[in-house]
Symmetry: C2
DNA sequence: ATAATCTTTGCAATCGAGTTGCACTAAAAG
DNA sequence: CTTTTAGTGCAACTCGATTGCAAAGATTAT
């Protein structure tokens, strides 16, 4: 497992106090985090600083963003060697009753044949409905 | 083609002035409409009335909502016999440069095998990137 | 038909995620 | 050490979505 410093160095992002704690937090979580999640976890760090940090991380492929249907963009650290291709991604299932998001790791996203000269940057596949707990 | 009155009767939604004009507008458009689109088109109808009308329509399966990556929820009239299954839907391609949304009618969404006892209500497949015009 | 009740509508206000301007501080370059 | 560039914190703002409330309209019971 890489340290925050190593990751930032590899991705050519200058290391700062805010960047280190944000990245560390993301690495410590098993679920993708929203700006609000991070803000709540890091009580003494300003929201806009976290926001700009996330933008910087995203531009430099340190993290990628996910639309999971909850209405809030979530962020997760890219796996080693991740180039944010859709093949790295999976479906998200958002339960409209309990507001939980499930990652459907077992269901792979098929290759999408885009029209001529379209360039894919990101794919968000959100499935909404009732989870096993709420479907009664 | 059904009239607004027929559709509302079939879906058991009481007919009102606002509901008729909103539904008529949606029927007349070839593209899915955002709340703002409808608001602009119907100058003398209040936004919150349109909003509540859309919620009522959605609950009663008169229309379905679409997240197309633009950040605004869009609405489209359900086809006759549509039960808002994902099989009725298609991918949306959102160009991050020119902010246009393209419906990829030719690329069908494969059947998604959900985990045991999960109930699917809606699926939004959004692909982001550069369209043929911006990819130069 | 009339009163009581429920629904719909319009307006204004609010919410919340995201974003930006600006001044201050810290780090890098000269 | 001075100049320049980058990062941070605070407050304010944007904008889509949503809600409280009172007036208007429709429905039901008397």
């Amino acid at each position: 497992m890489q340290t925050e410093e190593e990751i930032l160095k590899i991705k050519k992002v200058k290391n700062t106090a805010v960047r280190t704690v944000v990245l560390r937090h993301l690495l410590n979580q098993e679920k993708a985090q929203s700006l609000k999640d991070i803000e709540n976890a890091l009580a003494y760090t300003d929201r806009s600083s976290i926001f700009r940090t996330l933008k910087t991380f995203e531009e430099n492929k340190v993290i990628h963003s996910i639309e999971d249907g909850s209405g809030m963009t979530k962020y997760a650290v890219c796996a080693e060697g991740c180039n944010c291709d859709p093949k790295d991604l999976h479906y998200h299932f958002y339960c409209t009753n309990c507001d939980k998001t499930f990652c459907l790791f077992d269901v792979l996203i098929p290759k999408i044949q885009l029209p001529e000269n379209f360039k894919l940057q990101q794919a968000n596949m959100v499935v909404k409905g009732l989870c096993n707990n709420c479907n009664k």
